[in-house]
Symmetry: C2
Amino acid sequence: MAKNLTTRKEDYSKWYNELVVKADLAENSAVRGCMVIKPYGYAIWEKMQAQLDKMFKETGHQNAYFPLFVPKSLFEAEEKNAEGFAKECAIVTHYRLKNDPDNAGKLIVDPDAKLEEELVVRPTSEAIIWNTYKGWIQSYRDLPILVNQWANVVRWEMRTRLFLRTAEFLWQEGHTAHATKAEALAETEQMNNIYAEFAENFMAMPVIKGRKTESERFAGAVETYCIEAMMQDGKALQAGTSHFLGQNFAKAFDVKFATKEGGLEHVWATSWGVSTRLMGALIMTHSDDNGLVLPPNLAPIQVVIVPIYKGQEQLDQISEVANKLTADLRAQGISVKYDDRDTQKPGWKFAQYELQGVPVRIAIGPKDLEKGSVELARRDTLSKEFVQQNEVVERVKGLMTEIQENLHNKAKAFRNEHITEVNDFEEFKKVLKEKGGFISAHWDGTAETENRIKELTKATIRLIPFDNEKEEGVCVFTGKPSVGRVLFAKAY
Amino acid sequence: MAKNLTTRKEDYSKWYNELVVKADLAENSAVRGCMVIKPYGYAIWEKMQAQLDKMFKETGHQNAYFPLFVPKSLFEAEEKNAEGFAKECAIVTHYRLKNDPDNAGKLIVDPDAKLEEELVVRPTSEAIIWNTYKGWIQSYRDLPILVNQWANVVRWEMRTRLFLRTAEFLWQEGHTAHATKAEALAETEQMNNIYAEFAENFMAMPVIKGRKTESERFAGAVETYCIEAMMQDGKALQAGTSHFLGQNFAKAFDVKFATKEGGLEHVWATSWGVSTRLMGALIMTHSDDNGLVLPPNLAPIQVVIVPIYKGQEQLDQISEVANKLTADLRAQGISVKYDDRDTQKPGWKFAQYELQGVPVRIAIGPKDLEKGSVELARRDTLSKEFVQQNEVVERVKGLMTEIQENLHNKAKAFRNEHITEVNDFEEFKKVLKEKGGFISAHWDGTAETENRIKELTKATIRLIPFDNEKEEGVCVFTGKPSVGRVLFAKAY
């Protein structure tokens, strides 16, 4: 192939890395583990943001912004949370550079500008936010607080991969405060459902909803709900999490409220987030050996029109048709790019838009002008058809839904084929090795067994699904009793 | 007054600080100099962002995202830029905390996790971006690059004030690359014009366009264009800047492109930004002793409806009218809040929405039900009128424009009254002391005179306006020849 993309079969990991860079989504930067999100990749993220933000606001949430830095003394206030993140934090210790006396034109850290207290670059914002909420909450009248923040966070991961695991990433983090446990639990579930809805309807990515085991929970959470997706290489990917934090942070930061009845109680909390990791999930769910495949609901360019011409006169004639089509499609809310650049040939453009996953490509050449038609190509099926010019708008409108559904169905079929019920540990290992995917198995409920299985197979319990908790059985590893199957997988 | 806001006359600075906090816009955080932007304040910022983003995209710009951190070696590459920001940078030196062996439950910086190279938390992103552009630009075909970033930046200022000067702030920074000087200059001017258009039409804030003197220029820029506004205390505020960077960054980072003609040249650059400082400008331009006053084009809530009732039956009747009004107004694209909370009294609500600057308040009581009317109050003029219910939508639609224009006219009249032509240095000092505002005076063009005037009066040259450069005269301080008046002022 002209674009020289490694195939998924050859090397899935290499295919992914190459695709992200060649499709102009992101690239590594001069800062270890930090990425540059390029305009085309960022445009997809903006579409994700816009939709999620709408869903958050429709459920009563407002955005706010809290500091990037967390003073060390606040950071360590909730012990489990601090312990969970301490080993991967970027720490600000100084606030000034000065000229290097030994090296003209060079700068060194000014030792006289040492901070009295070190600042942690936020890996997550519970600490700084709950310290703030303390001032916002006095009475039940101040509750609930339903706040979300779009922000950058930093976790100093040692092994990083574009979008999937980067030292700095972009995300949203919701932080809510409630008067009752029931209300906080309902919020935790609501937000997990919103993530699932977003994944299914916009990313065309099927997900399973459930909760994490204790060892996979967010540091400081009482319960972590999650949505888990299945990638084409048989590895699972955690796509979103919603945490019920109980009263842990309220206790750590002494946040109490006067109840209606005149009592004084600690506030109940949730937090929930999705990140630019979703970009990785989107890419790995749909893309193929020719490049990116994007669902129309998140494609920055839904339709591209490419003229095939010799000479200005032909181009003018084609442009007349293309401009009308562009206007008609846009009037239907469809985003269209007419690429009449003369610096690149049609073949180059075809390859480029295929690589970048534009859902529909329309080509118009001299023969089309004669016949009143256009050539229409689908990115998802790579199929082509000729459509009469006056039927293009209707056809494309239909395709937006059709492609979206096709991608969802295809991914769902793949995911369903990759859930294997297993009742024996040898089979467990065999399936994991030969097929991958989710392994649905009984587990005795202990962290010890979970850890042993992880050590032996690298598979972890991705989640305890909400919808299959009540089957009695025996643990696939210890033979001890179990009350329901859980899903194991190797994971990103 | 119930809300106990210090008046502007009593203490302008205190009035501002109190207003920002009491109107729920922002507050100080546990991190020195960093603010929390509260939901109501953030909602105004989101409206600013949405409009600016639209204007950037309409002029061909795309968003992208670059790392938060700049390695010290890149930071120091463009010497003037580095020098300009070195003294106020937050520096990351370590990437891990560990348990304090002497203090259970406490954490200390792990000395074994020292970074090989320190990272500067971006005070601005020219360095990291131009190091990235080096990989994006080979030929004239790759130009122009028209990229914008919405991000947080950190400048370790010693004296901070909410929105006006904070250690961390939110902004957008455009970074463009061009094949020719003329194109880069045109971009610099275009973006300054967009800022002016935004300030005038959305913030209802009159601004003067011009360029900075050499000593007031952005560190590393060849020219800095700006828009300057006048606050109610007679101090100027720089509301946006657009920099022509020449080839300085291209040279520092060795970014060359193959020209159409087969040559190899350094790329031309611009950068331009506005920040959450605009929130401070918005507040100080329009607000009064009763609180915030917001122009309808940026008000998160344009109309609030408050029911005045006794008992559920009356509330139900009022709600029927209010809900219909709400629906009808929303159908016209007007944002409406119907505040029927029973936890607060009407008087409290009136004071609250006045303090928060909601442009139009509608009150509906039992007498209004009888008369088929509502009471409508304008925030800008504090005037009230009774309007028949079936005329409310038309009246409110009209008011959105009327209030927007009234605020703009009022601010413009104030600004114009506060530009004083001065030809003598004694008068200069007198006007500055007694009236404040912009002083339009001749200047001999030297940094020396500029600095002397600053030392003596604290006034700086805010800008050399684009529209009054060609009058001959003599410098107000030295008597040396001058080719045009410049605007001096004390400034935020």
